[in-house]
């Protein structure tokens, strides 16, 4: 049981990295990776939201959708749950934990329509994970996202000082960097 869980987590954090091999959550990955500090902030917010969202969507699926034979409504149900959840988390943090809100608050609205959140929820259902596995998978996936975005931000800070050919400045060089990172992450295939 524990061993299976560990393999699933390693798989979703490194081997099938959410951005570098599944292409989910590319927008924040490319958009919020200019500085390491903001990348860390975005990464923590994503870990926070995806872990809670996988827990809640898993419960909604098992206890509401499956129970009433409404599995086909999962896309609609999940996107609504996620949107409401992000709003709620934002309000909750604002009221009860202002320091956490100050560090994560800016990133929260950006996460609502992040395809990684919906992607993880749908993957959990597709692979028929139980509650604990879903939460573990969500956590590991978002940790994978955070690892990738922090590495990218670190590299971009260095690229900023280099003489990049003019046409490649901005998005193209970032995409090339991401490509090389994806290539490097191929190396983790040997882990499993």
């Amino acid at each position: 049981m524990f061993k299976d869980l560990l393999f699933i987590m390693l798989g979703s954090a490194l081997v099938n990295n959410v951005v570098l091999s599944q292409f989910l959550g590319l927008c924040p990955f490319l958009g919020v990776s200019k500085k390491t500090d903001t990348a860390i902030g975005m990464g923590s917010a994503v870990i926070f939201v995806i872990t809670i969202a996988s827990a809640i969507t898993s419960l909604v699926y098992t206890y509401i959708l499956v129970r009433f034979n409404l599995e086909f409504l999962n896309t609609i149900a999940f996107i609504l749950v996620i949107a409401a959840l992000v709003q709620f988390v934002e309000m909750f943090l604002k009221k009860f934990s202002p320091p956490l809100y100050n560090s994560l608050g800016v990133y929260l609205p950006l996460i609502t329509t992040n395809c990684a959140v919906l992607g993880v929820a749908l993957t959990n259902v597709q692979k028929e994970y139980d509650f604990i596995t879903s939460v573990a998978n969500g956590f590991a996936t978002s940790v994978g996202f955070t690892i990738a975005i922090i590495i990218l931000a670190g590299i971009r800070e260095r690229i900023d000082e280099k003489a990049v050919p003019e046409s490649f400045r901005g998005t193209p060089i970032t995409l090339a960097t991401a490509g090389l990172m994806a290539l490097a992450f191929f190396g983790f295939k040997g882990l499993l």
């Binding site: 292409f23 924040p28 490319l30 958009g31 609609i76 609504l80 993957t123 046409s167 490649f168 490509g179």
Partner: protein, 224 residues
């Protein structure tokens, strides 16, 4: 007249992939072959045209304050319908695109067009705006898919094109290749834009954040 203008606008002037840089996730993920790219494009076209039509029909009924959630519910319902239809009638397509079909819900092109066009214009024009944008997306995905399939497998739409002696670069159809190909395309677009700065609509995504659903929020540059 207006209809043709909309189609031209979607395919050429404001091509969602090449000009506006929206919907990058599916663009990278499903363009492993020309056929996959085209199928994804057509699926998105169906959802986009239907959502534009419905949102335009209801544009005076939907209260302004809850318009985004309403659009999301409409789009999610349409995606579910399309998903069930594909599962029933085109199971091979359904399994090839997998999780990327339900993820059409969070494709920013659809919500972007709903917000920018369908909510302000009459139904027929909105329908053709959706078809135009969808065609633009399909053309872009097919072209990228063809390029990747040609370089990575030596085939186009499954037909052998390159002679046996040419070794295909298989990395191009794997995950890193998607980033590399998009990098080249982006660099080429930058080059063209620099040569004739006036002839192209500016990419209304926020800076170099490659569009997607965040374009409306991430730096306040709401596209219109």
């Amino acid at each position: 007249m207006k209809i043709f203008e909309r189609l031209y606008n979607g395919v050429v002037k404001e091509n969602p992939t090449f000009v506006l840089m929206l919907g990058m996730c599916p663009t990278l993920a499903v363009t492993t072959s020309a056929l996959n790219g085209m199928q994804m494009g057509l699926t998105t076209l169906a959802v986009l045209a239907a959502s534009n039509l419905i949102i335009s029909l209801f544009r005076s009924v939907i209260p302004n304050k809850v318009r985004i959630p309403s659009y999301i519910v409409i789009i999610a319902s349409l995606v579910t319908v399309v998903q069930l239809l594909l599962q029933a009638y085109l199971p091979s397509l359904y399994s090839a695109l997998g999780i990327y079909i339900p993820l059409i819900v969070v494709n920013c092109i659809i919500l972007g067009r709903a917000e920018a066009f369908a909510s302000k214009n009459p139904p027929l024009v909105s329908l053709f705006d959706g078809i135009g944008m969808g065609l633009g997306f399909t053309v872009a995905l097919t072209l990228i898919g063809m390029l990747r399939e040609l370089l990575g497998a030596g085939t186009v739409f499954g037909f052998n094109v390159l002679p046996q002696s040419v070794e295909p670069i298989s990395i191009i159809i794997m995950a890193p290749g998607a980033f590399f190909v998009l990098c080249w395309i982006n660099a080429a677009i930058n080059k063209i834009k620099k040569k004739n700065p006036k002839s192209h609509a500016t990419a209304k995504s926020c800076g170099d954040c490659a569009g997607c659903s965040m374009s409306g929020v991430c730096s306040g540059t709401k596209q219109d």
